[in-house]
């Protein structure tokens, strides 16, 4: 026997394309609007101002050492003449992360509240994460053409699972006694969610968002193959021309952006273990150190 799954998928894609054209156009318009605006905004900021913002954020959220690293590394990117590419990549990352959070957070909450939703969603998430990232590029390009919009969509699909999973996990791990206390004092379902569950799940959710940002950063490089632009283009050009230098420059810029984004987002959530933490360990004031029990 010989199943031909590929043909079936082709016909499904064609069917969607033929019959849901207007829906696809709408999605394309919304995502295009978000992506383009973020991109234009970021590119409109003059380089020194943007650098200053990054350094101040680094100083405020993390510390002096990291602020110096940020300044030096961004100056390096500028001198590799990759600043516009990096901003464009950043805008893709921000756009896809925002979309992933907007979809993923409610989905994670729904999973936490219903075992049935969780049972249905979990294999879908597995599929999204294990499918080779390139596979998303084809239908994305077919539905939405080439450019930043299909790039963003492929990135959202690839990068969304962590925020969904960790939102679900974070809410489920809120100790039962807190839930019981919430109920005992007369919380409605939404009060319980916003006053008890989400605040206590926040470290886990922030870890999920951090992972989503990291994944989307790795995906936007791949998404440059369908014309998403940015640093991915630089890397791709390096590969196509066998120009190791250019490829390496693009790669370095991606790493720099990754480090900066990772450290900044980690500082928002309290947890989130990552190998960058080992590289740039900060004598962080952990909760335990701040709060010694009074007895």
């Amino acid at each position: 026997m010989n199943f031909n799954i590929g043909n079936g998928v082709d016909s499904i894609v064609n069917y969607i394309q033929d019959n849901f054209g207007s829906t696809l156009d709408f999605i394309s318009a919304v995502i295009g609007f978000v992506t383009n605006n973020i991109q234009e905004f970021l590119l409109a900021i003059p380089m020194p101002a943007a650098l200053a913002i990054f350094v101040i954020l680094a100083l405020w959220r993390v510390g002096v050492g990291f602020a110096i690293f940020t300044a030096v590394s961004l100056w390096l990117v500028e001198h590799m003449q990759l600043w516009p590419e990096m901003m464009s990549t950043l805008s893709l990352v921000i756009a896809s992360t925002l979309i992933a959070i907007v979809i993923g957070l409610p989905l994670g909450i729904a999973m936490a509240r219903s075992d049935r939703v969780a049972a249905i969603t979990r294999p879908v998430l597995d599929l999204m994460q294990t499918m080779p990232a390139f596979v998303y590029l084809i239908p994305a390009a077919m539905f939405f053409g080439l450019g930043a919009v299909p790039g963003t969509i492929a990135t959202v699909i690839f990068a969304m699972p962590p925020v969904v999973r960790l939102t679900n996990l974070g809410i489920r791990q809120v100790p039962a006694e807190y839930i019981e206390a919430g109920n005992a004092f007369g919380c409605t379902a939404s009060q319980l969610l916003f006053k008890v569950q989400l605040p206590n799940a926040l470290p886990s959710i922030m870890a999920g968002i951090n992972q989503t940002i990291m994944l989307s950063l790795s995906m936007v490089v791949i998404a440059s193959m369908i014309g998403a632009g940015g640093l991915g283009n630089t890397v791709l050009t390096g590969i196509q021309r066998l120009d190791v230098g250019t490829g390496f420059e693009g790669g370095i810029a991606v790493v720099i952006l990754a480090v900066i984004l990772d450290r900044l987002t980690q500082s928002l959530g309290k947890q989130g273990a990552n190998f960058w933490q080992v590289l740039f360990r900060k004598p962080a004031k952990t909760e335990q150190e701040v709060a010694q029990p009074a007895t």
Binding site: P175, A181, A184, F185, G186, C187, A294, T295
Partner: protein, 411 residues
């Protein structure tokens, strides 16, 4: 004993019923209806578990809790006492039966009314404190008020008042993880008191605290109860605790209510071996007062004109007693004499050998003193120790052997 007597006089009869349970059942598992039918038809719990996979949490509980009393539900772990408590505010839904609070059957009210009931009338204090770590002490104390939609300034004021009541107003800005266990539970108590509920449910509220702090918190609860009389339902596995704070105690075994009564009832007339088994761990010396174990087994002599030392000695010899208690005509305690002291005084021809034979080292004990306070005096005295009431009338005496028997009643 006077403390208990006061409580007894205040609690029953006069006070109206606050909470009334009528044939309440709770069955855990997938097929509660089937299990309930089997339970009512008299099948045993292991049989029901084997047949339906359901376990019985509470089996046919019917009792009343009076307004303003501290009602302690006591049992070993797994006996269903915490389940019973949670049925009252429906954190656990009862399978069958009626639970009336102020005459309203709360098992029948809508979820909206239930939320109102929890916000207005019933608060809860948890064994594990269950303070929310993302809120400071004040915000924790104000949690119930915030949920109820009370305005910021009003809830801050009420929460601060509640914190003041438990002595923590200085810690309003602290975080729960900066506090010790006892302080955390004070915050838990303040959170429960802030909404000024009429019913306070306390689930092993002090069990996680070390003994000294636990006693302190028990006193605190009794003090707060004195200022503002609430109906307190207190779950505990500790009979000592139950005896200290409880107006009435309800003993639960395996989901069944075994006995309900005042602390004295429970100690003096335990319903079965399970109830008795609690005394193994209880310090009976704190439950009993000196008057409870004083027995009139000693020779007593009424002091009168003309009764000489020799006559007294004769009577002691005929009863073969080493000591005699000398009383006045109105049964007031005058002194205690021993055979040797009498004989010495007669031999030495002391004037009034009788009066001078009183043993000087024996001080009478007040009947209301807790046994724990007089253990040392009884143990170190060579003679029986007389016990008197507040008007110095002789109640009885405590011998060392009687004392040992009392302390040993647990085995």
């Amino acid at each position: 004993m006077d403390l208990t007597i006061e409580k007894d006089a205040a609690a029953p009869a006069a006070s109206p019923i606050k909470i009334s349970l009528k044939n309440v059942y709770k069955i855990f598992g997938e097929r509660p209806e089937t299990a309930l039918e089997q339970l009512k038809s008299g099948r045993s719990k292991p049989e029901i578990l084997a047949d339906t996979g359901c376990s019985v949490g509470v089996n046919d509980a019917s009792f009343d809790i009076m307004a303003g009393e501290i009602f302690v539900i006591m049992g070993l772990s797994g006996s269903g006492k915490s389940t019973l408590l949670r049925l009252l505010n429906r954190l656990i839904e009862p399978t069958a039966g009626a639970i009336e609070i102020d005459g309203v059957d709360v098992t029948q009210i809508s979820s909206r009314e239930l939320i109102d009931l929890r916000r207005r009338d019933i608060s809860m204090v948890f064994q594990s404190f269950a303070l929310l770590p993302n809120r400071n002490v004040l915000q924790n104390a104000a949690f119930g008020l915030e949920v109820a939609g009370i305005g910021e300034s009003e809830r801050k004021e009420k929460a601060l008042n509640a914190l003041r009541a438990v002595g923590l107003e200085g810690y309003a800005e602290s975080h729960p993880d900066q506090l010790s266990g006892g302080m955390k539970q004070r915050v838990g108590l303040a959170r429960a008191l802030a909404s000024e509920p009429t019913i306070l449910l306390m689930d092993e509220a002090f069990s996680a605290l070390d003994p000294l702090i636990r006693t302190e918190m028990q006193d605190e609860l009794v003090r707060l109860q004195g200022e503002h009389s609430r109906t307190v339902v207190f779950v505990s596995h500790d009979l000592d605790e139950a005896m200290r704070i409880g107006d009435r105690i309800c003993i639960v075994e395996n989901g069944n209510v075994v006995q309900i009564g005042t602390p004295d009832d429970i100690v003096l007339n335990p319903a079965n071996d399970y109830v008795r088994s609690f005394f193994r761990n209880v310090d009976v010396s704190r439950v009993f007062k000196a008057g409870d174990i004083a027995r009139q087994t000693q020779v007593t002599l009424i002091e009168r004109q003309g009764v000489s030392a020799a006559a007294t000695l004769e009577r002691m010899k005929s009863y073969d007693r080493e000591y005699a208690i000398i009383l006045g005509r109105d049964r007031t305690f005058h002194g205690i004499v021993s055979r040797t002291s009498l004989v010495d005084n007669i031999r030495n021809k002391v004037i009034d050998p009788y009066r001078n034979a009183f043993l000087t080292d024996v001080e009478p004990i007040l009947a209301s003193e807790p046994l724990s306070d007089v253990l040392g005096r009884v143990a170190s005295s060579s003679s029986p120790v007389p016990v008197v009431d507040e008007r110095n009338r002789y109640v009885g005496s405590i011998t060392k052997s009687a004392l040992l028997e009392t302390l040993d009643r647990t085995t």
